[in-house]
């Protein structure tokens, strides 16, 4: 999910069925070890937990703890290929495709003892659909939610809407007690009542938050851990040291440079997991000369993606071609983007209105050493084309503001998905009015926008895939964004942590995690 | 107040200007014997004091005069072991009641300070600890030595302050040095010096920093103490009128040496032998007696680093207790003609 991070997080290789990926071992405890109960897991992160009200946050630092306190009707499969039952045991779509019916699990209790029924589900979905909630767009297709009986919920959509089940697995549609069990949303966000594996024990804003095991969690026997604590540690060195020193178990955000040291430290291990993340060099197509496609193609041909992977990611990544991540079925493997070829770049530039180059800036977030490094590499190679780049460093929120309002030339951005269905990202990254104006490229293409809208209405995945491939080819031609590389989710964790497998959408599922003594 | 009789010690000899010479058998109160001090500047040793020899007996007040830079203050500081880091005693002895203070690495010196020898400094403004109440500064040494409590020490301080002429001492005993006038500060210092009942008191130009009226009051105080304590005084000054009024014997110093000294001040003043002494005494305006042309000295002593390092002849005995350094022709010419040269300019 797009976040403002002080230091950018670039993870290793994505496990993608279609790509036959390189041999980065996925470390996993041998199946023979049986999970043991007990243990307090401490997780380090760069950003602080802001709120525990599911309909409020947009930042990962708040989303992931919410996913441990609440449940959703469905959950994404671990490899991102679809959704699985959670609070809803089964679901089906009506013949005319306009109604989705969900059958709820029986005997699920909230932490205040109240039983979870369809009334709570209706309230939760309607709460997130309110315009004031930042994730209202996810439920935009929903017209009405009805509760025929205590354990059945029917969701009506204006047009057939294939991604609905995936949307029911998103944290924003977590199930909260009806009317927040009588509390105000503000109070509820500080003392949440959910059905999830953990309950809030103590929370020092901006410092740390501790969640203890929910004794009567509906998935009997889980969670194994006694408690989990999320601690804020801004400095990446300090996080690496704490995990190495045994003071914490998981570093959510290890710097690439510390990977080799952590791996041979003996006390910590590096886990790489499938991720939907794709990093781009956004180009502001509104401004001259970037409105010209040849200029953009010249820039794309002058970006040496292999060097970026080697120098910035220390090899933990793969150069990007298509806009969609290999972890999604909408990824078109045949697209490989513009190869690094300065002669071709010069040729493109010759055809453009500025054949002998021009001046431009790359906007970078301060404190983000990876962005600084990439900017300097691109600066050096563009200089060979006569394109003189100055690096403009702004603090994260100012850099973000500049990209939002389009007063920048080029900048770095990335995007991850929150649902397994590609619809969310494609609309967000590709279409003009998808929230980030085509990931800040302000690239308008009516044709692409219409394809995206049409694909959302089809039920057949192959048909949708054909359309998405057409969309990606169009983007590749126009290059409003230069895709840089695909990176896996990367975590450093202590060797006594087992079965820690974050999903493609980022959910931790700490209910399955256990610690050996 | 037990044993506080210090202030009015019994004297074992008649007080008097001339002072009675100690009999040969008993060691003198203070005997400085051929004391040499040198300064280490930029890697070289320069002689600051050369063969200083003088004696002070109980009840005697010896004046030590000379221009600034003649080494008179230095002699006092050497005798008290207060030489700054760059200066050191190279030879000679300082015997207090027969015991050489330099011999055993400063232990004797430490034992003697305060109870044996006391010292009053020139500038009361900087010689008192600015952050300590005056009462406490007067008695901190003696009360530590005699294990007195705060209250007892305070009473003794008030008594001493009264004795040195500070009006309403109760009001000032808790005051800080900067709250007192120059004269009062000097009296505090004197009170502090005599607190431990010393037998010998060094005075390093104690009145120079004060204005004339206060100066005479302090001198009266010294005379009173001289009578009461029957202590020996070594009084450094460049003010010859003070010498005349207060001292019984005199030593004259020039360029780090004693050029002339006598146990009988009057005799020496009437007929000084050494040309420098004559020039020095001649430079004093007489109020009484016939009007004489003022005689001045053209040049003061050369700075330390320009003095010749050749050893000078020892003092010769003019008469018992009266020694004079033989003056070289150049010195005679310098001190005699110096006067004409000055007149010619005027």
């Amino acid at each position: 999910m797009k976040t403002t991070r002080v230091t950018a997080r670039l993870a290793g290789l994505a496990v993608g069925l279609a790509l036959g990926v390189s041999a980065l071992a996925v470390t996993r405890a041998s199946a023979a070890d049986t999970p043991q109960k007990g243990g307090d897991l401490i997780m380090l992160r760069a950003e602080q937990l802001r709120t525990l009200l599911p309909s409020q946050p947009t930042d990962n630092a708040s989303i992931w703890p919410i996913e441990e306190v609440f449940n959703t009707l469905l959950v994404p499969k671990q490899d991102g290929s679809g959704v699985a039952p959670s609070l809803a045991t089964s679901w089906e779509q009506s013949k005319d495709g306009l109604d989705w019916t969900f059958h709820l699990r029986h005997g699920v209790k909230f932490t205040n003892g109240q039983e979870m029924t369809s009334k709570d589900v209706k309230f939760s979905i309607e709460e997130t659909s309110k315009p004031s909630s930042p994730f209202a767009f996810i439920n935009a297709a929903i017209t009405k939610v009805t509760t025929p009986d205590a354990y059945t919920v029917v969701i009506h959509t204006a047009k057939p809407f294939a991604p609905l089940p995936a949307d029911m697995a998103i944290f924003a549609n977590s199930i909260v007690p009806y009317d927040y069990a009588g509390m105000t949303p503000e109070a509820f966000s500080k003392k949440p009542i959910g059905t999830g594996p953990f309950m809030l024990k103590s929370w020092t804003p901006g410092v740390e938050a501790t969640f203890e095991r929910n004794p009567n969690y509906w998935d009997k026997g889980k969670p194994y851990l006694d408690s989990i604590t999320f601690k804020v540690v801004a400095d990446s060195n300090t996080r690496a040291n704490e995990v190495q020193g045994g003071q914490a178990q998981i570093d959510e955000f290890p710097a690439f440079s510390s990977i080799t040291a952590l791996q041979n430290s003996g006390t910590a291990k590096i886990g790489t997991y499938a991720s939907s993340r794709v990093d781009f060099l956004s180009i502001n197509t509104q401004k001259k000369p970037f409105d010209n496609v040849d200029v953009r193609r010249a820039i794309a041909s002058a970006v040496d993606k292999n060097t970026l992977v080697k120098v910035v990611l220390f090899g933990h990544g793969k150069p990007a071609g298509a806009y969609m991540s290999p972890s999604s079925w909408s990824h078109d493997p045949s697209i490989t983007g513009y190869p690094y070829d300065l002669k071709a770049a010069k040729a493109f530039l010759a055809k453009s209105p500025v054949p002998d180059g021009f001046k431009a800036t790359i906007t970078v977030a301060s404190g983000n050493s990876d962005q600084q490094t990439m900017a300097q590499i691109i600066q050096a190679s563009l200089a060979k084309l006569g394109i003189k780049i100055t690096i403009q460093t702004l603090d994260p929120s100012a850099a973000y503001d500049a990209k939002q309002n389009g007063n920048y030339d080029m900048g770095f951005s990335y995007d991850t998905t929150d649902i397994v269905d590609p619809d969310e990202i494609i609309r967000f990254t590709g279409s003009y009015d998808g929230g980030s104006h085509g990931l800040y490229s302000f690239y308008k293409n009516k044709e692409i926008d219409s394809w995206i809208a049409k694909a959302a209405t089809l039920n057949d995945q192959d048909a949708r895939q054909k359309i998405y491939f057409k969309v990606e080819k169009a983007w590749n031609e126009a290059q409003p964004l230069v895709p840089l590389f695909y990176t896996p989710e990367l975590y450093a964790y202590a060797s006594n942590v087992h079965d820690f497998h974050p999903f493609v959408t980022g959910n931790y599922n700490l209910a399955d995690v256990w610690m050996s003594k | 107040m037990n044993g506080a009789g210090m202030a009015t010690r019994k004297t074992d000899g008649p007080a008097g200007a001339g002072g009675e010479r100690a009999s040969a058998g008993q060691a003198p109160l203070l005997e400085i014997d051929r004391l040499c001090v040198s300064a280490h500047i930029n890697g070289q040793d320069w002689r600051a004091l050369e063969n200083i020899t003088l004696r002070v007996d109980r009840g005697e007040t010896r004046g030590l005069v000379g221009e600034s830079g003649s080494g008179k203050s230095l002699t006092l500081r050497a005798a008290m072991g207060l030489l700054p880091g760059s200066l050191s005693v190279t030879s000679g002895a300082i015997r207090f009641k027969g015991r050489d203070l330099l011999a055993d690495g400063g232990k004797a010196m430490a034992a003697v300070r305060g109870t044996g020898i006391a010292m009053v400094f020139q500038e009361p403004a900087v010689a008192l600890n600015p952050v300590m109440r005056v009462g406490r500064q007067i008695t901190d040494s003696v009360s530590a030595r005699r294990g007195w409590g705060r209250r007892q020490a305070r009473e003794f301080a008030v008594e001493l302050m009264d004795q040195v002429g500070i009006r309403d001492p109760k009001r000032w005993v808790e005051a800080y040095p900067h709250q007192l006038s120059g004269g009062m500060r000097q009296r505090v210092m004197i009170a502090s010096a005599i607190a431990c009942g010393p037998e010998l008191i060094f005075c390093d130009e104690p009145t120079t920093a004060l204005d004339v009226t206060v100066q005479s009051q302090i001198l009266k105080l010294f005379s009173k103490l001289q009578a009461d304590l029957h202590a020996g005084f070594l009084y450094v000054t460049h003010d010859l009128s003070v010498v005349a009024e207060f001292c019984s014997s005199l030593s004259v110093m020039y360029a780090g040496r004693i050029v002339e000294q006598s146990d009988d001040l009057k005799a020496m003043v009437q007929a000084p032998v050494h040309p420098y002494t004559r020039a020095l005494l001649g430079a004093v305006p007489r109020i009484k007696g016939p009007i004489q042309r003022l005689r001045g000295l053209s040049s003061s002593a050369p700075p330390l680093t320009e003095r010749s390092q050749a050893p000078t002849a020892p003092l010769a005995e003019v008469s018992p207790g009266w020694q004079v350094a033989p003056a070289s022709p150049e010195e005679v010419e310098l001190f005699e003609t110096g006067v004409q040269a000055w007149e010619a300019q005027a």
Partner: protein
């Protein structure tokens, strides 16, 4: 007041016999001057001392340790650390020194005037000084970085806005001491205008203390530049500067690549060592209490 003058006279008196302090002060000045001189020299003829440009990237040789081809090794972009230190010296020393000049001049002037005139002028100046000192430096710097864009300009402005206060305070104290002496009264009686008195007579007497402080201020400025780079508000890449080299190297420290941070840190330490020796030596020569 007279106490101080007597103390000086007495010190004068004793000093005729010479104090050891002055000679040792010179050796401090000498060693310091040699170190700083050497660094300045290396910075000036940097191109002669190295084959590589400070921003030449070589991706075949990233994160190498010290070797004959790269004396101090290379950074994550394969740039030669030895050349970046040399050219970095130019940026940092120039900025740190220039960023002392303005506050020294402004601070001394304000300090002298407020020390001499006192009254409401002095109170206002001192209240402004309180606000400037109390104000968290980083809020100021970050805002300046936005208004003027980051890089040398905003750093220079930020440092100048804050550090004139120290000079003003030092000079004000010394001026107040002097302006109550007969020496200043004599000037007034002599009919001189207050402007001439302050700037022609008072300032030369009090400026030595400020100059000595300036030495340690240069050291402090280098520290500020380094810290600003740590928070990403320092010199604009790719211009080499010790601060950003250290900030870029910091994430690699836990990764075992110590050189990236240790090399620039050593450069900063050695330069500060030289500068503070010069400061000490200067203090002795100018006979100023540090």
């Amino acid at each position: 007041m007279t106490e101080v003058m007597i103390e000086k006279k007495r010190a004068g008196l004793m000093s005729r016999i010479g104090r050891t302090g002055r000679r040792r002060g010179n050796t401090h000045l000498l060693i310091g001057a040699v170190i700083v001189g050497l660094i300045v020299l290396m910075a000036i003829c940097a191109p002669l001392l190295t084959r590589y440009g400070p921003i030449d990237q070589d991706f075949t040789a990233t994160l190498q340790g010290p070797s004959w081809t790269h004396l101090l090794g290379t950074d994550n972009l394969g740039r030669d650390l030895w050349s970046r230190i040399l050219f970095g010296a130019r940026t940092d020393l120039f900025l740190a020194t220039v960023a002392v000049a303005a506050p020294l001049v402004i601070g001394t002037a304000i300090g002298a005037l407020s020390g001499y005139f006192g009254g409401w002028f002095d109170t206002i100046i001192m209240r402004i000084a309180d606000i400037v000192v109390a104000f968290p430096f980083y809020v100021l710097v970050i805002s300046l970085v936005f208004i003027m864009g980051n890089g040398v300009g905003s750093i220079f402005a930020a440092i100048s806005i804050v550090s004139w206060v120290a000079y003003a305070r030092i000079v004000r104290a010394e001026t107040m001491v002097l302006s109550s002496t007969d020496f200043v009264d004599a000037l007034k009686v002599g009919g001189l205008g207050s402007g001439r008195i302050v700037f022609r007579h008072l300032v030369p007497n009090v400026v030595s203390q400020a100059i000595v402080y300036a030495m340690s201020d240069i050291v402090a400025n280098i520290g500020v530049i380094v810290t600003l780079s740590y928070f990403g508000m320092g010199i604009v890449p790719p211009t080499p500067d010790w601060g950003s080299m250290m900030a870029d190297g910091q994430p690699f420290f836990a990764g075992g690549y110590y050189g990236l941070m240790v090399v620039p840190a050593a450069a900063v330490i050695v330069t500060s060592f030289g500068l503070s020796l010069v400061g000490d030596g200067l203090a002795n020569v100018l006979r100023v209490k540090r």
